[in-house]
Structures are given as C-alpha cells and as structure tokens.
Symmetry: C2
Amino acid sequence: MRQVTIYDIAKEAKVSVATVSRVLNDTAPVKVSTRAKIEELIEKYNFQPNAMARSLLKKETGIIGLIVPDLTNPFFPEVFAGAEHEAQQSGYTFLLSNSIGDYAKESEYLSIMREKRVDGIMFMGGRINLKQCEEPLVQELVQHASVIPTVLVNGGLRNTDLIRVSTDEAAGTALAVKHLIELGHTKIGFIGGESHMTTTSIKLRAFRKTLKEAGLAIREEWLLPDSFSIDSGKRQMLKLLAMSDRPTAIFCVNDYTAIGAIKAAAEMGIRIPEDISIVGFDDIPLAHHFIPELTTVSQQANELGRTAVNVLKAMMNKEKVKKLTSLEPQLIVRQSTGKPAAT
Amino acid sequence: MRQVTIYDIAKEAKVSVATVSRVLNDTAPVKVSTRAKIEELIEKYNFQPNAMARSLLKKETGIIGLIVPDLTNPFFPEVFAGAEHEAQQSGYTFLLSNSIGDYAKESEYLSIMREKRVDGIMFMGGRINLKQCEEPLVQELVQHASVIPTVLVNGGLRNTDLIRVSTDEAAGTALAVKHLIELGHTKIGFIGGESHMTTTSIKLRAFRKTLKEAGLAIREEWLLPDSFSIDSGKRQMLKLLAMSDRPTAIFCVNDYTAIGAIKAAAEMGIRIPEDISIVGFDDIPLAHHFIPELTTVSQQANELGRTAVNVLKAMMNKEKVKKLTSLEPQLIVRQSTGKPAAT
DNA sequence: CTGAAAGCGCTAACAT
DNA sequence: ATGTTAGCGCTTTCAG
C-alpha cells in the first residue's frame, strides 16, 4: 500500500503542500487552526515525511557510514557504542559494514556509501592498518575522501593527509612494558600480531625501545608475532614454554592473544602470575572477567568512537580539524601480572 | 564541491540523460561507441549515481534497519554477521542502532528508519522480550510493521501476528538440564535472568518441566533469577554457596551469568566441574576460551541472523512466510560440567 | 538506438 | 499566513 505523502495531507486539509511542510519543519508561522488540522491529519495517517526526498534537496542524509573489519571482535562494538552515543545527539544514524579484512568488500562498501550519499565515513581496519598498502587502494580511499568527509580510526595511509583519530599504541606499549620492568622483570617476551600490519610494528618498535632504554637485552627468539587470535597466543606461548631459557613476563599485542597465552600456560600447569606475568592490550570487556583478571592497556574504545564522530562532525561542518587526534591509552593493572618468582 | 550528476555526463557526452541512465543500468541497448564515450566520462569524473534520487522513484533503498539492545553483548555481533552475510548477496546494507533497552530510543529509531524508508526492519530485544508489554508500545510496532516488512528476532508480542524468527529456548533449556541429569545430578539450581522478561520465564518453565519429568524435586530456594550480567551470576552463586544444602549443578540463563558463577566459585575455592557443574546458554565466542571451557547451549546466532534476513527478503518480495520460524539450539558439552562428586 | 518529458516527495524562494 | 512553482538526480514511458 502506498505511503501517504505531503500531498495527501495537503489535499485533505485543503491547504498547499508548502503549509504542510511548514508545520512539519516549523519553518514559518502557521495559523493555529490550520496547524491543528494538519497535525491531526498527520496523526491520523501516521504520516512520516520521506527522508529520501528531503535529502535529495538538502544534500544531507543524516547517515554516517562505518566500515569495520569485524564486529565480532569486542573492541569494535565498544567503539561503535561511543560513536553512536555521540552521533545520536546530532541526529545521525549509522550504516554499518563488516569488511572482514577483504579489500574488495571495503571497496564495494565505500561505493555503496558514496552512492547513498552518507554525510561522512568512519573507516577502521583493513587497508589502513597495512605497513605497505597498494597504491590503487590508497588512491581509491583518497578519492572518496575528497568527496565525502572521512576519518581514519586507528590507522593511516602513507603519503596522504587523510584525517586520523588514533590511540597512541606506542605509548600504550611503553606503559605496559614499563609496568613489567617496574615489577622487576628483566626477561620479557612479545607475542602475537601479524608482521605486515602497522599495529604490530608500532608495538614491536615501542617494545624494543622501552627495553633498550631500561638497559635490558632484547632476545630475538622471544619475539613471536603470529596473528591476533586466541589460538595464535596459545601457539606462541607453547613455543615459549618449550624453551629452556624463557621469559618471566610477556607482552601480548591484544587481549585475545593474552588469553590464548594464559590458556596455554594453564594447560601446562604454569601459574599466572606466579610463574609468568602476562599483559594484554585493548581491555575488552572480558579482560575484566577472565581468570585471572587480565592486566592490560585500555585503548578507550568508547572514547575513540566519540572522538572520531566529533572530528567527523567538525569536518561535515567544514570546520578545520587536526590531521591527527591522538588518544592516550591507560594501563589497567589487574591479576595477570606480578613480581617475578625469586630464583 | 558539487558531485557530478547524470546531466553533467550527458552534456559532455552530447547525449540525453536517458542514454546515460541506460548504460548505467544496462536497461536497453546503446550503440557501442556512445556507450564507450559515456563509460569513459563516468570513469573520468568518478561518477556515482545518487542512490537517493533513484530510491525516491523506485521506492526501495537497499537498506535493512536493525535494532538491537546492545551490540556490546557478543551475541548480537554474531547475529549481525550472519544477517550481513545473507543480506549482502542481495545488495542490502544495514542501518544499525543500539536501543540500550530504552523504549523511547526504540521508538525514535523506528521512526528514523521509517522516514528513511528502509526496505525492512529486524527488531531484537527491548519490548519484544517483555512478559508484559504496554499496549502503546505494542501498537506502535504493529503500526510500523503494517507499513514496512518487519521481523521480530527472538521475541514476540502477545496478541499480534507479527512475523517471528526465534531459537527454541525451551528446547535448549531442556537439552542442558537433561545433560545435567544424565551425568547423575539430582540437585540442580537455576541462576540469572530478569523475571519480567520472556527469556527468563520460558527457560524457568522448561527447567521446571524437565526436572519434573525426571522425577526430581524442584527446590524453590535454588531458583535465583536476577539479571543477565556477570555480576549477577557471581552474586547469586555466592548466595548458593552459602547454603548448607546446595545443588551440585547449576543451569545459568546465559554465558555471562555462568562466567560470573564460575568466578564466584573460583574465589571460594570451589572447583568446576569437580565440585559443581555449570552450564550456560548462548555459546558466545569466549565460552570456548574461558577456563574451564564452558558447557553451553548454542543459539546459533549466525544462523539466526541469516534466517531472519531470509524471512525478511521473502516478505519484501511479498511472498507468504510462516508466522514463526524456529531454530533448534544445540548443546555444546565442554569442560564446565561433569559427574557429581561421590558423596 | 536515442531523446523529450513526466514524475518520485519534499523544500525554498517568490508571490500574494 | 499561505499558495505557486521550480528544482534535487534519477528512471521510465512514449515517440521518433
């Protein structure tokens, strides 16, 4: 059945569509009696103006496009929650897509969002986390960004000046490693992360730097990148545990790998933190509830989402914004780290 | 800068907009040479047709509205992933909103989606999980559903015939409780869930029925609803552990409460499953990774999402669909359940 | 194979 | 205070 339009209302109220539009948007004074009649009709037919028609003319849709790699990773819903909270106040809604790390899918969604004329795009993961991103993929994003306000969250693209909002992962890593050092650890390992991704290299670099500044040796055989999954944490921890000389503390690139590492330890009868300390990264909700509760670095996902939306709002308003807005991560000390066992 | 339109292309190609539209949609034969020229221009200007204009005319947006209570609960991203997978093949994208259990927000989002003329709505949580939903809230949803295809996922509304897709929670509960009974447990408790919500009452009813059919006594003091959080699981477990006569096995309404219960047990030095068996519900990703790994009932969230979208697609096609599509949950036996300790 | 023109539902001058 | 009208960018007859 056809939806009722502003014309139907106008006709039945015996006024012009302009008048109906006026009461709808409260954009000019309307006589009380006619306004009353119109409102009655709107109520009666449950009329809702067609946003599509309005957008066509106003050139704004009230939609923000959000591309994330994988909503199933608890970090992203948290970012989304923050973003939504901030966006909602200004009447924005989200068109959401999982790219599953598939660049073709990223491109497709980018296109769809552009066709749908979203007012802004928040882009996370995928190509913007690559140490080496292929030029066509870079150009594609740059092209889109030149037409529609775009903010890259926790990532970036070399040699472009796209607007970014990021947590300072290097600082976060330093925080975690210093915590380990302060506890008295001198033998520290590194687990997880894919080597071709920026998150991994940023963290690895900060890891090395922090150890070095503390005058500690870097043991290459204890540096074990892999992926971001629980299984990879498990796998690498097992490898570490099999060594005759092993670290007493481990920095994991994220909470998932940390959990994997703890599970591996548990299966081998190694106690956390008595035998080995483990620190994660992200502070996903479950970090707080795992046994033992996970010491980790909070990326302030919620805050990240809010900030990204605020930057985007500024851009949509054609205000000037900083190229990079950086958020400070926080160390959350819980149960998975402690002093090294006395030798 | 103004986006380029079909007119710009037409003018530069010295053809009419109709012809450009034809090559865009491949809706009628176009001479190879003119098609080539038009495509070249499209490429040159990176032209993307305005979906808004098209939708206005075609009366379809390619958008599905999804309302969930809280994406931060890992169950929902899983449903979303399934839904997106299924939707994507038909070119649909999602407008997503968290209602945070706030009925006013639900209403607002419903309105926005209607204004934006989404092609269909998937509604989860909130009012459709209430044992007793206020009439205006019911009517509002009914009204919207009469205008735009709507499917209620894992919920329903009394005395309405809105289309539903649900996992059979009663069957799932029976599965879990029978598993406990088969292991030899006769003293079984129930933890979690808000009493005014249907999930809770459905599970509680199935729980009682299953015990009864097995000839086991129902101990009212071991029935401890509360909420769905980890903390509530912890809280009620502590209560249970303080009793002189306590159950040897516990059914928890979801994985979060189960995890809370396990944490409480761990803190009190009670071993799972040696001293007490615990079974959860939902099979969130972390159930598999918790220590001990959680025995639970899978709601097949992914499948649920896919099914919901398929039903919605059928509705949007004006096909006839069943009032209720029911999914069978599955018992996943892992480490948190075992035989009762010998007395 | 291509063009002209109407119209999707709404807003915003411009009149009155 | 209210009506008329010209678009917004596109698709789709209907002609040619």
